[in-house]
Symmetry: D2
Subunit: 444 residues, 4 copies
Amino acid sequence: MLKIYAIGGYSQIGKNMTAVQYNDEIIILDCGFWMEKIMSYEGEENAASLPVESLYKYEIVPDDRKFFEEHGKQVKAIFSTHAHLDHCAAIPALAGKYKCPVIATPFTIEVIKRLASERKEKMPRLIKMKEGNFFEVSKNVKVEFIHVTHSTIQTVIIAVHTPDGIIVYANDWRFDENPIIEKKTNYARLKKISKEGVLALITDSTRVDDESKTFSEATVRSMFLDILPGVNNKKNLLIVTTFASHIERIRTILDMAKKLNRKPIILGTSMSNYINAAEKIGVTNFSKEAQIVRGEKNINKIMRKINKNRGGYLIICTGNQGEPNAVLTRIARNEFDLNLMPKDAVIFSSRTIPSPINIAQRADLERKLRNKGVRIITDVHVSGHAGREDQREMLEILKPKHYIPTHGGMVKLASAVDLAGEEGYELGKTSHILQDGQSIVLIK
Amino acid sequence: MLKIYAIGGYSQIGKNMTAVQYNDEIIILDCGFWMEKIMSYEGEENAASLPVESLYKYEIVPDDRKFFEEHGKQVKAIFSTHAHLDHCAAIPALAGKYKCPVIATPFTIEVIKRLASERKEKMPRLIKMKEGNFFEVSKNVKVEFIHVTHSTIQTVIIAVHTPDGIIVYANDWRFDENPIIEKKTNYARLKKISKEGVLALITDSTRVDDESKTFSEATVRSMFLDILPGVNNKKNLLIVTTFASHIERIRTILDMAKKLNRKPIILGTSMSNYINAAEKIGVTNFSKEAQIVRGEKNINKIMRKINKNRGGYLIICTGNQGEPNAVLTRIARNEFDLNLMPKDAVIFSSRTIPSPINIAQRADLERKLRNKGVRIITDVHVSGHAGREDQREMLEILKPKHYIPTHGGMVKLASAVDLAGEEGYELGKTSHILQDGQSIVLIK
Amino acid sequence: MLKIYAIGGYSQIGKNMTAVQYNDEIIILDCGFWMEKIMSYEGEENAASLPVESLYKYEIVPDDRKFFEEHGKQVKAIFSTHAHLDHCAAIPALAGKYKCPVIATPFTIEVIKRLASERKEKMPRLIKMKEGNFFEVSKNVKVEFIHVTHSTIQTVIIAVHTPDGIIVYANDWRFDENPIIEKKTNYARLKKISKEGVLALITDSTRVDDESKTFSEATVRSMFLDILPGVNNKKNLLIVTTFASHIERIRTILDMAKKLNRKPIILGTSMSNYINAAEKIGVTNFSKEAQIVRGEKNINKIMRKINKNRGGYLIICTGNQGEPNAVLTRIARNEFDLNLMPKDAVIFSSRTIPSPINIAQRADLERKLRNKGVRIITDVHVSGHAGREDQREMLEILKPKHYIPTHGGMVKLASAVDLAGEEGYELGKTSHILQDGQSIVLIK
Amino acid sequence: MLKIYAIGGYSQIGKNMTAVQYNDEIIILDCGFWMEKIMSYEGEENAASLPVESLYKYEIVPDDRKFFEEHGKQVKAIFSTHAHLDHCAAIPALAGKYKCPVIATPFTIEVIKRLASERKEKMPRLIKMKEGNFFEVSKNVKVEFIHVTHSTIQTVIIAVHTPDGIIVYANDWRFDENPIIEKKTNYARLKKISKEGVLALITDSTRVDDESKTFSEATVRSMFLDILPGVNNKKNLLIVTTFASHIERIRTILDMAKKLNRKPIILGTSMSNYINAAEKIGVTNFSKEAQIVRGEKNINKIMRKINKNRGGYLIICTGNQGEPNAVLTRIARNEFDLNLMPKDAVIFSSRTIPSPINIAQRADLERKLRNKGVRIITDVHVSGHAGREDQREMLEILKPKHYIPTHGGMVKLASAVDLAGEEGYELGKTSHILQDGQSIVLIK
């Protein structure tokens, strides 16, 4: 018997958590935060360090309480697909009680470790497994990591091999034909397991209503090449803001700094954390090319240096969503020894995540920048999530018997089911809408 | 005395026509159609061949009647910036009465010639002048063509040199840092005339409310490289639709065909006309690489051939706006011997021009394609018009005394004036909103 | 055993058709057109008179072919809730083959009769049944008509009484607390059957994503009272356009004409048809108060009369969606002996139905009117469909065991399921998403 | 010589201030806050009590510094049209230095007095003048108050009579044909001064791009009558939130409370302030019908009483924009002894003002309410500002020689100029776009 439990991520975009049961054995796939809830939490302490009960109460973590009560002892292992917080950040708080190992790619494990250390939580055994490898959960259940492209490195598709067929869990991903650091998605392996027989595909539907293909990191590089000549001059400050975990994007920005003969300065805790993780596992060596600075005092020191030679540096930092404590937002509020001036330029290598709080914070940041005469270039970005045509291709490659979209709201899931309908799937028979807390037994 | 007459293009996007007067001598800059009016004209004949009175009545051409009556005899020359119909297509119908030569780049002249031949109109003297050259209108007035990048080839910025200063007319343009066929914009020359003293800049404000920089043709190439692997297979039909006049884009698509080992077939009268014009002047030689087919019978013949080897060809055609008589629309209506099938793919290398009639026609086309199971990829495109940050850069390069945006509606012009305000211009003193039919005397 | 067949209206908004089976007996509820398909059909003949095969092919009618083959002989009766074409217009073409009577309210029957006469179709037995009455299909199945408010008169909710419980079919409706002609919804009866036990509610989800309550016809009356003083003068033409079937709205407009001392003139075939139907059954007597004119010649005659005394009349006509052959559109194209002039006013007592073809046609109509200097007042209207809070109230009144939204696309159904979730229903257990062609057995 | 100075409100929506000069004498019209700046000001003190320098710095008040320096001594009187803060709230801080009286209607004067007392500012002489009266500024300049309808009471249009013609200043207004408390706009007087000759109309363009007529307060009453039956039950809490200054709206809500047999409770400082002002001048006597409660302790006391008999009360309060310290927002945050429960209902008799900060705060409030199962009804509202057709009517009634829209951004002003163009005005000649800090001499 094969059963899927939708624990989190099926009723909202965030706090992903799915369980797969084969007969008496269960594995958990992903265990993350609902980021929007963190942002609207306004307590005095850091949301991430709240006691577990509060994390449940504020809906920051998936509600696995009923599931744990009924099935906790059957869980043999926990896997995480990648290092984004909505897929792994709840592991320090929730994984311990399952008394089983946590398996992820090296980069993801490094990020989980840091999260755990901030929380001062005792962690279960963390196991690093590279893409292409298998983890034998039991005689019947084997878990494989298949390389896929996404907006952070070492992301994998998880294939759960069972005697009744393969469950493919692809959450999150895009098909990038021209990646910057990593290889392309392992299409050959996907085609291979398709022939072995995929019973179900569980997949990220965040952008399934975007009627196109998601473009590549190479396209972002091309956008930068277009933009930079116009905003670069010998005396102005140049700031690029992006997501801290987006190692490939930071790679591109470092290349741009070199092209402009500006020294790259990476600022802030969050960025430095992710870059450290990437360096620890030997994937990148950004600290050789760029100065990475964290801590109030150090940042202010470098700011004063930059201020004396504004055309000599390129600042890379967070704040692209207007987050109140991010470096860029603080620069805009004049909290450092660096003043923005007319003709300085800020490039947003990101897209505003469309929740009201983000939109308001970002608008406020832009207003502050414009009031100082700063030039703003937005949307130098491509998404990390698969568009509708990528989704279609995934279906055509894997030819799963069952299709289960995750990353809801209903409206996203409904759009995913529409697409599956175009490919011959029928709702309730071979395509399925699950909500958090529901489960489904899959029929071969 | 320097005076600007806003004849057309200041109250709508289309039918551009401006006149510049120095003392007793006048020159005309551009003379085009209002494309939207053509599309909503539903008479039985071709709108382009209507008698002049009807062209005025249906607002297809700029209303120069009052201007002609009062100033017709003072007009010494007519110049056109480029080959788009909203900048040159009214020349065959309106230029004759001015009894003066028409000067444009070779490509533009070829397009005007063809338009004139369709209209069976007797044309005034047509003079080809390459970028970088001057036309001496009189002792006092000299007109220079300065190369600029845009979405058709041989587009120029026109600089009118007078004893009272230089009038720069930049309509339309973008700053493309990585063009495909032509060189970059002649920034050196722009900086030079800035030092000589630019009295006024008249410039295209179509996308001035887009708060970014317009990306390059190179970015489109990068988008194609992302998309093609996913939609190309050995048996499917592959169709790319774009604007007929967009020679650089067609160049990119031909390169893609080569990459995919598909033979490119260019279909339809409009595309073949523009390509012929480009070949006549020796800029491209597409007919060596691609089969260019026009005429019902010939198209059907090649369609039957394609149908037997669907994976062997790449079709390039018009129809990206869902125009009822364009090749793609007719393919979708099964009017040729070629049937669309599931997994065939149509790539729109364009953007839907947002007028209601276009939106409806395009939606109808997409519906017809989807009903056949065809994959659709949209927006593989960058605009040909300058975004807000390009506009700002142009202002900073030229430092004109006066700023006059064209390409209205009011709301576009107002947004342009806002931008100029950020750069220190004051409405009514140094930045000016003109409406069709108005004029302004410029103060040094 | 109780089973619901979703034949049409569950995958799109239009061509409604549902069947309810109790053991061996089946009844059909509604059988209508997909209006969008009619509008985009561009054949030479009238879409409504196409042969049945073509109606299927162009998706104008619900596809009941498989259902008929398997269950046709079990169908005992066909019911229609109201006179809108998406609920009854397919009856003339499809009902005959079921060899059973068609039951509806008197107004609806009159409309079906006219549709049948246009189609020259032999009809099955038509039975008029007033609200509040029961039709005994068999010993076990009794069908009740319960009065509900909507945007046409004599609309009913259908309650199917069976030994296993009651199926309530409410499609379409709104809760209007201040109706103009009819009484309020029969809440008392709804509360009564709620106590008897409602097994399932099948209901219209067209506006379930509109987070409010739908306002009343009385609100429209209030809007008219606000607007009229400003657009009425002694010499100008005053035109109000609305939906032909909206008898209550026309009642309001006639009252307004009286208030303004203008003689109301109702123009066009469609309006006159619906008004005739309403008069035949004795609900209204508009022809006593207004002149109702149809036929090219008659219309032109009255137009000439109006032209001589423009301030003396109020024209009521169709064309609010910009339909090419509607009276208003033809007035705007100067096809009658009546010229529009500056200060004439057109009031749209309607909302543009948001399909691309409607949007384009309506925009074109408005442009034509504005070019003539006509004043336009739009959106003097409230919807005929229940908003989210009405939907919630219906759920709370009826407390059905199962909830089945109809009127899709997926996205609408998903939003309805979201609402049901807020009220305690669980997808897949007590709330259900059906697609055209699917069926579900209901568990008590 | 007649000259208009655009001091504030011409480059943004807020901080209105205009001056009119006839030869050597000047009067000031309105002097208000920029509300958006107040909301985004996050200092520790109340923004309204900041020192004047800070009010200038944060752009909360119009920048009249240069104007004062050059023309301060010529100012003979200051007038305010109505009690909204963007029209009168800067008077306590800025008016003193002009050493002249401040004239407004009694209600407005009461509001200014309270604002001054909060600021502890010494005020110039405040003069109450009723609509219909004249204030003789000098032999040549007479100022008349003409009654107009708006969303607060005792709003006037100001007519400045001079030997060179009349300047009409209408800022803000709507034409309400069915007002609740006050009379209709004094159309007779407007027509009369039109005949005397209006040299210029300066008017509010906030909603000039809304292509309709603004509906009446009577329409809101009708909306309430539709909504209340569905959300009222014997046990639930019923809360209506609206703008504190909207006396007519509160009148309607009190009537609704009576209809429902619920005792109305008006909560909060802001509401009680405006109601007090209205009672002081004898226009209303709400405290006879409703309990008006302010102060933390009193509010909590009444909350406990309400909690025991939830179906017995109707709460009227502020918070419709989600303002963090408004009563409704605090109820939603559980800061009072009153818990929201499922089926409680909150009616927003308002519209979200579309600035990012409002949108985010309102979304957050709605989320909090929904999490508690509260029913939300939004947009039971009509605007207080004139729509495009009202604007047109004002132009046709007054037939001013010059048209000067205020209430910008550029895009609003541009749309107003478009409308004026339709009515025969020409930009730069008879219609004028002014920006803050500009002035214009009017030619007869």
